[in-house]
């Protein structure tokens, strides 16, 4: 996987030259705020990891407020939404946990169970200190001293993060000690309640809600969970203010975000871009038949539609898709979209935690039906069965795994309907079936794979 800081294809976009419109407060640090230009989270000069000294010389120490709760109105003014996929307003989560009666727990979520997404691992590798700053600021805001960073199972990455945490502790930068916790390499490992279960010492499997983790999470305590990219944005907003943050993006969807781009030629990059960037500036759409937005719980969008859309929920919603965690895949023309979807659906079915009857019964059946549809002259009942099963699983799991999977599958049935007709006639655009969408090499086989 690459940790690229490629400026977005085909050219860097211009940003407003003046970073702060009047009337929204001064910057809170002694250093000059950078302009609104990108990149903000990733360093300008290539994928060189930023060490503590460089970080402190560039940003100074984290601007602690000295009192819980003070960060929250700043984040509200900035309009920061979660960068883990759900896009929930960040200030609301913080507010809910800050109001808790018992001592809360704060966790940075770097599990990144989505195989097509690299941005969290990249951010943690290159700019860990922005994430760790955000974690401390969030902990201060909710009055927590129990802080953890939940990290994708990668020994080198976890080792580096432990060293970074130790260095910060020695330098007195952090208010609270941070525990690095290993996340099993499961698709669902990063789900909030699965995270809470894992950190509580059980397998990383989702739980029924209510209660939500902000009420009862890790060992029954109110738990604040934020994606690591969200925390990095927090660290910068705390320094430079809401106006600076809003200088990028759109008024409804402000700021920048990290995206994992999969080009049609197989290139895979992590880039930082503004919300509202036209998709054709991110993905090379010539020779592309469809774009997958939002990862494997997202939706397919025909390339012709994608060419007219921007990276915004406002646009993507019209196609039944969403921005999510910024995964954008350009499926080349000449590939079988149904076969690719079937491969991923099989993976998603095997990633079921096996707790909920509708999920472990429905998802494998849907995957098998997709395999059938991907075969020559498929049984015509496969599509009707699949649609019936999709309706049966939606909303009936403890988590959104069934819903996300059916969204992905339904969009494929719509976008690749021509190809389905092809298969009925015994033809396929790509009989060779070279795999395109990325999947992990091994699958979960028993209980140890969930812990």
């Amino acid at each position: 996987m690459t940790y690229g800081t490629t400026v977005p294809y085909p050219s860097p976009f211009p940003g407003p030259q003046d970073s702060r419109p009047a009337g929204l407060g001064p910057a809170r640090t002694g250093t000059e705020p950078p302009g609104a230009d990108l990149p903000r989270l990733l360093p300008v000069h290539g994928a060189v990891p930023v060490d503590l000294r460089t970080h402190l010389s560039r940003y100074a120490a984290p601007p602690y407020f000295g009192h819980p709760g003070k960060l929250i109105p700043v984040l509200k003014a900035a309009g920061l939404t979660g960068r883990g996929g759900a896009a929930f307003p960040v200030h609301r989560k913080l507010q809910a946990v800050a109001e808790a009666r018992t001592q809360p727990v704060v966790v940075g979520n770097g599990a990144e169970g989505e195989p097509a997404s690299d941005k969290d691992k990249s951010l943690l590798w290159i700019s860990p200190h922005l994430v760790l700053d955000g974690l401390q600021l969030a902990a201060e805001a909710v009055g927590s001293e129990a802080v953890a960073l939940y990290v994708h199972r990668n020994a080198r990455l976890q080792e580096r993060l432990r060293a970074a945490v130790a260095e910060r502790a020695a330098a007195g930068v952090d208010l609270a000690p941070v525990e690095i916790i290993d996340a099993p390499p499961r698709f669902l490992a990063g789900e909030e309640s699965a995270l809470a279960s894992r950190i509580s010492g059980q397998p990383a499997m989702p739980r029924f809600k209510p209660p939500r983790v902000f009420e009862r999470g890790v060992v029954g305590r109110p738990t604040l969970v934020h994606n690591v990219e969200t925390l990095a944005h927090m660290a910068l907003i705390a320094r430079y203010g809401p106006a600076w943050f809003r200088a990028a993006g759109t008024p409804e969807e402000p700021g920048s975000m990290l995206c994992t781009l999969h080009q049609a030629d197989g290139r895979r990059d992590v880039v930082e871009t503004e919300l509202g960037t036209p998709l054709r500036d991110l993905l090379r759409l010539e020779g592309t038949q469809a774009v997958l937005s939002g990862g494997y719980h997202g939706a397919w969008v025909p390339a012709a539609d994608a060419a007219r859309m921007t990276l915004s929920n406002e646009d993507l919603k019209t196609a039944g898709a969403f921005v999510g965690a910024g995964v954008l895949v350009a499926l080349p023309a000449g590939r079988c979209g149904i076969a690719e979807t079937a491969r991923v659906a099989r993976y998603l079915a095997l990633e079921s935690a096996g707790q909920c009857g509708p999920c472990f019964n429905g998802l494998p059946r849907i995957a098998a039906a997709l395999d059938e549809v991907a075969s020559p002259r498929p049984d015509p009942r496969a599509v009707t069965d699949m649609i019936r099963w999709a309706g049966l699983v939606e909303g009936r799991g403890a988590c959104h795994h069934p819903d996300g999977t059916t969204r992905f599958v339904r969009s494929a049935l719509h976008v690749f309907r021509e190809e389905i007709r092809n298969h009925s006639d015994g033809r396929c655009v790509d009989p060779a079936r070279e795999p395109f969408l990325p999947l992990p090499a091994d699958t979960a086989l028993d209980a140890t794979d969930w812990s």
């Binding site: 739980r207 009857g357 799991g397 403890a398």
Partner: protein, 67 residues
Amino acid sequence: MKRELRVDPTACSGHGLCAELLPELVTLDEWGYPIVARGPVPRSLDRHVRRAVTDCPALALKLLPTS
């Protein structure tokens, strides 16, 4: 206070008593798992709902305040 009936799918193992005791609100899917009607529980069914909740062998049926 309005309350709705919900199933904790992680606890449910498909015994199917709820569908017998509360057919107005619960049907079983083709795998034996309950499909529960959404929305607040009508007062007229209160007694049957409470019985279904108590009788579920897996304690998977829950009466929760409508969100």
